[in-house]
Amino acid sequence: MTAAAASQAALDGAAAWAQAVRSSSIDAPTGSRVERFVAGAEARVITRSGDGRPPLEIITIAAPQAAQPLAEAAGQSVDRLSTWLGPLPGNRVTIVDVPAQAHLAGAAYPGIAITSSRLLTTRREFAAERALTVAIARQYALTFATAPQPDSWFAEGLAAYFATRAVHESFEGRYYLTLRSFGGYVPHSIRAIVMSPNPLDPRPRVARLAEVVEPADAPWRLAHGADLDRANRLTMALHTLERFVGWPAFQATLRAFVERSAGRTPALRDLTAVLSEQRGADMTWFFDQAMRVDARIDYAVVNLASVPAASAGWETTVDVRRLGEATSLPRATSTARSLPVMVRFADGSEITEWIDGRDREWRFEYSSASPAVLASVDPGAILLIDADRTNNTRALNPPLHTVGLRLAFNWLAWLQDAMLTCTAVI
């Protein structure tokens, strides 16, 4: 969608907010909390249209200096999400900038996105823009459920997935981990930690961003308690699927699903049907296993040994075990190539085996000219629903990790400082 548009005359903020509340399903307490901050504020309207899509009004209720950047950030988010999932639901979104102590940043209701411009911020934080992106991304899922109900964990899981992906893509390469201290008022961005790295980086991106999942008990969440656990599981399953099938294919699936779900309250089986159709294979098994929140999925390399052979060369043994109860992948697939186990040798050669994820233990033995140096189950970190990925890999005689050494020195300085601070008063 290209921004074509026409800035209209400024409106009264309170009136714009009243209009937004009338056409939304915001809960009364939250509505009242926002109301006290919009009194006397101005609202600006921008109409975006293009590419044959219906026009979208973006109404921004914010201080004059914050209104323009927020409207631009909202426009960019809308464009990105529209490209992925189709037009944003509804023909109007009202953006409200409230003070941070209201604890409403990231709140989303149909047609309403709430954020907080911070008093103190850094060039690498983008706090208000990120919260706004989260709230706008949630709009798609809000058409599937507008309040907590038995099946709304599905909408909450989708909302968190859409929001996480939108934040990563919108702030790729420029969003750094920012810690807030002194009651959350003082920010400090850590330049060593890029939260949204380049998408060409093959490592998984952070799946649980604070701005998306916190606060867990927020009134705008569509699921609470055990349902929220299911929603979180769905979010991780969706991240896993994205890595499994690739973003272009998964994006096409999501778009088709969103389009087909217009005007309905879809469930997980509807998404599974679209996914199966797009993949040309029944994908029911994936969600059957992935959504078993009572079961733990955990694959581990429990043993890696490489010893000199009696004659010549090396004998290597690799033991892989499924520690959890659930299986993640089906035995019945035609090739049975479910989950890869990679073994790397000192000469650089690699062997990849495929295991049937439903078994419990696997042993691989090799005779080789070089000793093994590493064994890894799911070496590409595809299966993000694995409960503990720190046990997926074992290395033999690994070289000193300079990043680890540097981090240990940082920890040393932190402990020294913590000790000096703790004993300063006494």
Binding site: V206, S376, A381, N391, P398, N410
Partner: protein, 313 residues
């Protein structure tokens, strides 16, 4: 005011002229902290080596790996959070002190060791600042007052814990949230919280001053037992509140200046700060902080002597 400035200036010069004391403080801090760092470092090496082999040679920190590691780490390794990096460390530690964040239980041992080490160091350092090195040797001076200083620190720690379970929840669990929620802007909310910080910080300063002057009183021979020393410390602070607080605040400003410099270097110091250069800067900050901490003691000795004898020594 002249007395206070002279006490601060003289104290700082006295510390800078005592390289042995500074070196002892540096070595003592390293002796106490390095064993724990070795444990954490070893766990880190294992964890990093056992990462899934997906671009494992990337030079920078992988946040996703870090979150996964934190989720499954226990003991000391669980304290390995992003706050350890550079300037985030002092910021987070000061914030934790004022916001009353409970330290992980696993840190109680290093903190206790810190109290033990400083009970010894203060004895040796204050003796040198008060009487020079002629009366006792460094180790003998530290050993002579060690037990009494340790008792003073432990009693102060008990009072500190009481403050955190009584006054702190009222200030930061009831008062501050209500004040902040009532504020119309974040600026007002921050200012109101700062006022609450100031109130609680004042209580901490009084506790700190009492413990400090109790130690000074022992070294100056004004008190023999820890209880008498604490009484004498409290009496001195009550008798000279303006001077004692002003000196504390002035010396504290040195620490604030150090934080500003550290923050500036960390934020604007170039891309290499988080590498080895960052580690060198962090250790330089620790050394400077030790000097400032010793300056607190040295200047308080001078102030105590000046106000007792009517002149700055």
């Amino acid at each position: 005011m002249t007395t206070i400035v002279k006490a601060l200036g003289g104290g700082l010069l006295r510390v800078l002229a005592s390289p042995l004391v500074i070196a002892a403080a540096i070595v003592a801090m390293l002796l106490v902290t390095v064993p724990f760092a070795l444990v954490v470092g070893s766990e880190l090496q294992t964890a990093l080596s056992n990462q899934q082999p997906i671009d494992r040679d990337a030079g920078e920190i992988d946040p996703e790996w870090w979150f996964e590691f934190r989720e499954h780490s226990r003991g000391l390794a669980a304290t390995f959070t992003p706050v350890i990096i550079g300037f985030a460390a002092p910021l987070a530690n000061l914030s934790a002190l004022l916001d009353g964040e409970s330290p992980p239980l696993v840190l109680l041992l290093p903190y206790l060791l810190g109290i033990v080490v400083w009970s010894f160091l203060w004895g040796a350092a204050l003796e040198q600042f008060a009487h020079g090195s002629s009366r006792f040797g460094f180790f003998r001076a530290g050993a002579r007052t060690f037990m009494r200083f340790f008792v003073i620190s432990m009693l102060a720690a008990v009072v500190l814990v009481l403050l955190y379970v009584s006054i702190h929840p009222l200030l930061f669990g009831v008062l501050a949230p209500n004040l902040e929620a009532a504020a119309a802007t974040e600026r007002t909310a921050f200012m109101l919280r700062s006022v609450v910080y100031l109130a609680f910080g004042s209580v901490l300063v009084i506790l700190s001053l009492t413990a400090d002057y109790a130690r000074v009183a022992i070294v100056m021979g004004s008190a023999a037992s820890p209880i008498d020393a604490l009484r004498e410390g409290a009496r001195f602070v009550r008798s000279h509140p303006g001077s004692a607080v002003a000196l504390y605040v002035l010396t504290g400003l040195l620490f604030v200046a150090l934080l500003v410099v550290y923050g500036y270097v960390d934020v604007y110091g170039g891309s290499g700060v988080t590498g080895w250069r960052g580690i060198a800067i962090a250790q330089a900050y620790i050394v400077a902080r030790l000097v400032i901490r010793l300056t607190f003691g040295a200047s308080e000795v001078r102030l105590y002597r000046a106000l007792a004898a009517g002149r700055v020594g």
